[in-house]
């Protein structure tokens, strides 16, 4: 009985993870601008560099996530991906000041400085976050006919999460908390959701 009701939560949890991952990426992208501004400014090219790195990382993440989904996909592994993205965000809290100072002293052009610093800090966690969506689609698809519908729903949830992460962070979170407090909370929520997913035993069809 217990196992039965738990497995009925499987699909909703896939959507929650994907929606949260969308929220997470955009919250971090917005905060990254804040982290870079003291050393590289608030110029249009700093944002250009940040968005370039995030888009590039996501594109690579989609590729890797799709590839990973081919071999024995499971909700458990999706949880691990989310946790990996969270853990690779930790250096932002611990080392961003030192790293940004290092880049600042070596690269005088703020365009390439911000590009380099945002690659070093945000590329890896964003690649891993990018794996989430294609991997999640694989877990949802059971029939070829419904695959487009599953992908559509998944895109909806994950992009809606991104919208929520963008407005939530820029309108409200920065007014209430320090940047590192927001980062820490985001990481903790990812770890929590990831561990929830890990609790699920592989389903028979997985």
């Amino acid at each position: 009985m217990g196992t039965f009701s738990l497995s009925s939560l499987r699909k909703p949890l896939v959507f929650v993870l994907a929606g949260w991952s969308g929220f997470y990426v955009m919250a971090i992208e917005l905060l990254s601008g804040r982290i870079l501004a003291p050393s590289f400014g608030n110029s249009i090219y700093v944002w250009g560099g940040v968005i370039t790195i995030f888009m590039l990382a996501l594109s690579i993440g989609y590729l890797i996530g799709g590839h990973l989904s081919v071999h024995a996909p499971s909700l458990r592994r999706l949880g691990l991906i989310l946790m990996a993205a969270a853990l690779t965000t930790l250096p932002v809290i611990i080392w961003s000041d030192a790293l940004i100072d290092m880049v600042f002293t070596r690269v005088s052009d703020p365009r390439y400085g911000s590009l380099l610093a945002s690659s070093a800090l945000f590329f890896l966690p964003t690649v891993i976050s990018g794996c989430v969506s294609p991997y999640a689609i694989r877990l949802l698809v059971t029939q070829l006919q419904a695959s487009g519908q599953s992908a559509g729903k998944l895109y909806f949830v994950s992009t809606f999460g991104s919208a929520a992460g963008t407005i939530g962070t820029s309108f409200y979170l920065v007014l209430l908390f320090e940047i590192n407090q927001i980062f820490t909370t985001l990481i903790l929520i990812s770890l929590l959701l990831g561990s929830l997913a890990i609790l699920f035993k592989p389903a028979s069809h997985e």
């Binding site: 050393s39 400014g41 940047i179």
Partner: protein
């Protein structure tokens, strides 16, 4: 084009916000903002954002030496704290009112200007008589980045003026404790800082405690704007301020700066709650606070 615009206003019976004698001389979309230069009787003004934007700078064409805005007059109060500056830094150019006035007052002063928007530098040259020379340098850079970069060089300033605004307010990364600490590091012992702020909102308190946190006491000059005046190694007493004011009186008068008026603005009353949160790089929702 201008006639077309006027007839459109008439035709639609809308308030276009432009007074009858107003004429638009130049509009430009730069990377950061819409820039507009217009004349209004004898004044030629610069504003960011069409019609709704606040005026950034104005010059009086028949009396170009005159400082038209009270805030620019109050910024000159910095000279009462250090009457003989050698090397000045101005962050935020606008129409170039401040460097142009300083150049008239001190022909040998070295002036560095940091301005993020190359279009503003161009417009200041073309319409507001701003000139660069061996003694006046204008660098196109974000103010915060300019300061951080300057800290790695031997250069130090005995006069710094903060006047960086976007169409909303001072950019958030130039309102934090870390930024002001960097500014402090760029000042000589006798160095003086003048900061233009115009917040009358909740942000006023946050700004005040942040300046207090980094610099200690400061003179707070209020009009429609608020100008903060600081000397790095401590504020002079009013007797010294008056002496310097008297010595500068003849030179400041042609700029429209009246001694008594300016001295009457000097106050070091702390009219903000001391328990207000200091703005930091970690916490600086300045523009959100400003709208409340």
């Amino acid at each position: 084009m201008n006639n077309l615009f006027r007839s459109l206003c008439m035709g639609l019976l809308i308030m276009c916000g432009a007074p009858a004698h107003s004429e638009i001389l130049h509009t430009e979309k730069s990377l950061y903002r819409n820039i507009e230069v217009y004349s209004d009787d004898e004044l030629r003004c610069l504003r960011f954002g069409r019609y709704t934007g606040t005026r950034q700078s104005c010059i009086n064409l028949s009396n170009p030496d005159n400082l038209e805005f009270n805030y620019t007059r109050m910024m000159m109060g910095a000279l009462y704290l250090n009457p003989n500056p050698q090397h000045a830094l101005i962050i935020g150019l606008g129409g170039g009112t401040l460097p142009t006035a300083l150049r008239k007052l001190y022909p040998a002063l070295q002036i560095d200007v940091a301005e993020i928007d190359s279009a503003v530098v161009r417009v200041a040259r073309q319409y507001f008589g701003f000139t660069t020379s061996q003694l006046t340098h204008a660098t196109e850079a974000d103010g915060r980045v300019f300061v951080k970069r300057a800290l790695t060089q031997p250069v130090r300033y005995d006069l710094i003026m903060l006047d960086a605004f976007d169409q909303e307010y001072i950019p958030e990364h130039m309102l934090t404790r870390e930024f002001l600490t960097e500014i402090r590091g760029l000042m000589t012992d006798q160095g003086v800082l003048a900061a233009n702020t115009f917040s009358s909102s909740r942000l006023y308190n946050y700004e005040s405690v942040t300046y207090q946190n980094v610099f200690g006491d400061f003179f707070n000059l209020k009009d429609s704007n608020r100008v903060i005046l600081i000397r790095r190694n401590g504020l002079p007493d009013m007797a010294e301020v008056r002496r310097n004011a008297a010595a500068l009186e003849a030179r400041l008068k042609p700029l429209g700066v009246q001694n008594e008026w300016l001295l009457s603005k000097f106050s070091n009353a702390k009219d903000w709650p001391a328990n207000t949160r200091v703005l930091t790089d970690q916490y600086s929702p300045a523009n959100l606070l400003n709208s409340k």
